[in-house]
């Protein structure tokens, strides 16, 4: 099953490699990993999307908690949560396809953020599923380049993840 782990870590050199190293050393999957400092500059927040049985995800959580730099670990998928991912796609947009490309981007509420006479760069935010659907909606040959941030997640409602 797919799980989304939110992790608060000390903003120390090496904290990322401790977390990444744990996943590789113990053979756990990482589908995506994002990390950036929080409003408190001494801490960073990671979102890791992983897959595994309940037993494995329980072990992952315990092993993460064991890392000295890790302040807190929460499995967001255990409760109601929101997840978003940002994607930038550079597509071919010339001739008769140019209008069609614009319309498809609009349907997915994408924004065109850079333009040349032969291409568009589209910014799209949403769940992983939505971004996948957008790519599928495009003609494969039209996609020049994609870059995705990986998932960031947050709990719904008033619940907050605090140190």
């Amino acid at each position: 099953m797919r799980h989304i782990l939110s992790i608060l870590v000390e903003n120390e050199a090496g904290a990322l490699s401790r977390v990444a190293g744990l996943f590789s050393a113990r053979g756990y999957n990482i589908e995506s990993l994002t990390v950036a400092p929080t409003e408190d500059a001494t801490m960073s927040r990671m979102t890791i999307v992983t897959t595994g049985s309940d037993e494995i995800v329980e072990q992952i959580t315990k092993q993460l908690n064991k890392l000295v730099d890790v302040v807190k670990v929460v499995d967001l998928s255990e409760g109601r949560h929101i997840e978003r991912e940002l994607m930038l796609v550079k597509v071919r947009a010339a001739g008769k396809d140019r209008e069609e490309m614009k319309r498809t981007a609009d349907i997915f509420r994408g924004r065109i953020i850079d333009v040349t006479d032969k291409s568009y760069t589209i910014e799209l935010t949403g769940t992983t599923d939505k971004l996948d659907a957008f790519l599928e909606a495009l003609d494969k040959g039209a996609i020049l380049e994609t870059v995705r941030t990986g998932v960031s997640g947050i709990g719904r409602g008033e619940w907050v993840l605090k140190a």
Binding site: A13, R18, G21, Q59, K62, D69
Partner: protein, 582 residues
Amino acid sequence: MELKLPPLAETGETLTGAEIAIRCLQEEGVEFVFGYPGGAVLFIYDALFKQKKVKHILVRHEQGALHAADGYARATGRPGVALVTSGPGVTNAVTGIATAYMDSIPMVVVTGQVPTRAIGEDAFQECDTVGITRPCVKHNFLVKDVNELAITMKKAFHIATTGRPGPVLVDIPKDVSQQSARFHYPEKISLRSYSPVVKGHGGQIKKAMQLLLEAKRPMIYVGGGAILGEASHEVTELVRLLDYPCTNTLMGLGAFPASDKRFVGMLGMHGTVEANMAMQNCDVLLAVGARFDDRVIGNPAHFAAGSAGRKIVHIDVDPSSISKRVRVDVPIVGHVKDVLAELIALLRASKEKPDAAALAAWWDQIGSWRAKDCLKYDRNAKIIKPQFVIEKLWEVTKGDAYVTSDVGQHQMWAAQFYRFEKPRRWINSGGLGTMGVGLPYAMGVKLAFPKADVACVTGEASVQMCIQELSTCKQYHLPVKLVNLNNRYMGMVRQWQEFFHGNRYSESYMDALPDFVKLAEAYGHVGMRVEKPGDVEGALREAFSLKDRLVFLDIITDQTENVFPMVPGGKGMSEMILSEDL
């Protein structure tokens, strides 16, 4: 107006980073530092030279330093400290660090690093120390600012010795050891990201008590955590209070005394029939500071299927050890000593008592497994049997020696036949299984307990992996006794090749062994060769009577002897091969 106080770090005297490092060791009450100098640690060695409190033990190879510090920690419970230089100093130390990590041994390892400005430039003797050691330390630090050194050392000792212990490494660049800062050593430290649970959950402890009282076929399984957590007294009290069978793992030997009739021997791959069968067939299992590893329970699926409805209570300070290989019904995270004390108090206060009739039937069943006498061997053999040597060693040392071992058959025989009565007397590498630890372990133990008998049970293959430390033993007058069970084979490799690889002894025979007697003499020690069963006891007595000499006993043993019982890799614990089966 607000009164402005200078930050704590500025109130002390001004010292160099090197002096700060040594002062921190003094503040921690460190007796010995095991190490080897080199370019990046020259300032630290200079600071060491100018003081007397911390004694430095110069080894002959950094691996020896780590193992000796580790052995000291295992025997005393206090953190072992090692000091090595950058680059090859660190890479040589890695085996020792990993060995300590796998067995959760508290250590602080101080390493030199190239100057901060040279880091990343592939400087002479540079390596990415925090990167290389990251997977085999509890935590590590690179100190880039001398003002952070004292607090980092404090953190290192705190992390190494609390929760589930382990090695912590502090990497100090040469320029940091040269720069100066005000010295202040904090008495206490708290880390927001590190606060191990110590107190067990009261409700869970009650559930555990209930299960233990309802048990028809109970079993108590005690691992190295009981020794690390100083819980031997509580384990013993609990087992005797309930009159339940108890087994110790390889790492837990001595946590419960072997002389007690409730002790069913060690369990696992080379455990006794009674211990393994009781594990497999019990209905309530209490696991204390143990981790159900592959060498203990074998195949987890086979173990889980062994006893329908078996309930497991697991006490451990590390939550990640619980339900890792085997699903547990009542997990209790906490300090084993305190949890057991609470459990005992609850049991004493309870009106309910264990089911005496069921327990009697269970003991009868265990008695029938015991009657197999699975550790029997040929006592009338004309050639020396290794088991016989260990039995004689036990007799000669009155069962009260510190016994270190290397890794292989001799290790298993020592574990099976030296009946450990007390914790911290059996010093071996269980998790990583590192050949070569025995001699440096013995050094660390002997330094900690100069008056005690220290025996290193080893084999002719293992002992050669750190043999250079015989020289260190000479320098510091460490009269340990090496009991070399010399069968001219890497015995355990040979045994597996005999059982599972059609007797093809691929590279497990050592030709051209040194003359160990002469070798010991060359290092300035006493060497003795023993070739007849009748001479074993006399030689051991003579060796231990030479109080101030290291004695290397080269004992020529049966080449074909195997360790029994044996659970083949991947099999279940009740699928043992016994000596009589072959």
